[in-house]
């Protein structure tokens, strides 16, 4: 293969990854960095790093998981460079701020009455709902928001999401359950569901 052919092949791979996964990778990076330029830089490094990896997997779903795995390492490098705790150490499903004690009484009953929301998009625009959801995700413990994003927004298989987040299959369910409880509570405090019957 000539240098020109190799260059064209690398551009084709980059273009394919950008089209299929670029925005997903960016949103995940932004969730962790909260900074547009930094998130874009980390996605660029992720894709260039993927080019240097000799054996990319076959198949679209595994390719996405593979790229997210590389992205996670790049994010961990970024965290280390800022002298913060590595991602793996922030994945703690047994954190002390337990949403369940906020929501439930000691006897297992609801602390506050629940209300039937109806469809939130009937009374707010999708963008407004999305902004509120992102704000609420930002209030969750890192492990919960990470699992929620990987599983429910990026729609990765449970096993792949667990592998990327570095948590056991058992803890995946605990994290997702707590994220759902906390998001519902946060959105309700933000006013969602209070005007519907």
């Amino acid at each position: 293969m000539t240098n020109k052919e190799a260059n064209a092949e690398r551009h084709a791979a980059i273009q394919r990854w950008l089209c299929a996964h670029g925005d997903s990778l960016y949103r995940y990076a932004f969730l962790h960095t909260r900074h547009r330029e930094t998130a874009e830089d980390i996605v660029q490094e992720t894709l260039l790093g993927a080019l240097r990896t000799p054996h990319p997997p076959d198949g679209r779903a595994s390719e996405k998981t593979w790229l997210f795995g590389i992205l996670k390492h790049k994010l961990a490098d970024h965290v280390r460079s800022r002298q913060r705790a590595p991602l793996d150490q922030r994945v703690d499903p047994t954190d002390d701020t337990d949403i369940e004690t906020d929501v439930f009484l000691a006897n297992g009953r609801w602390r506050e009455p629940t209300s039937a929301w109806g469809d939130p998009l009937k009374y707010v625009e999708a963008k407004t709902f999305w902004r509120s959801l992102k704000a609420c995700l930002g209030n969750l413990p890192d492990a919960q928001s990470e699992m929620f994003v990987l599983r429910e927004i990026e729609e990765l298989p449970l096993e792949d999401a667990a592998e990327i987040a570095g948590v056991s299959a058992t803890n995946v369910y605990v994290l997702l359950h707590r994220a759902r409880l906390a998001l519902r509570q946060c959105l309700q405090h933000a006013g969602f569901g209070q005007d519907s019957s």
Binding site: N3, A6, N7, R10, H11, I14, Q15, L18, G22, D23, L25, Y26, R27, R36, E40, V43, Q44, L47, L48, L51, E100, V103, F104, N107, G108, R109, W110, P113, T114, S115, A116, W117, G118, D119, P120, L121, A126, K127, F129, W130, L133, E152, I153, L158, V172, Y173, L176, H177, R180, L181, L183, R184, L187, G193
Partner: protein, 85 residues
Amino acid sequence: MNLMPHCQRVAQNVSAARDGQLHGWARIITLLHLALCGPCRRYARDIDQIYSALQSAHQAQRAEGLSASAKQHVHDRVDQEDAER
């Protein structure tokens, strides 16, 4: 055997059901509890509504992604790396 789980357990089961992890007896008693318990039934519906809204909102904001300049910059970096070889 717990014939009537408390609401906290049922909320966990509602979550497990979303992940395809609620089977057998646990599924039966959860459905029974939901039929009898208004607060838990409303919680389960709320979670469904949030997910439905999330999917719609996600579609609506897909434009929120990597900028065109960032995409071009990746290609520029590829050319730069190739030139340095």
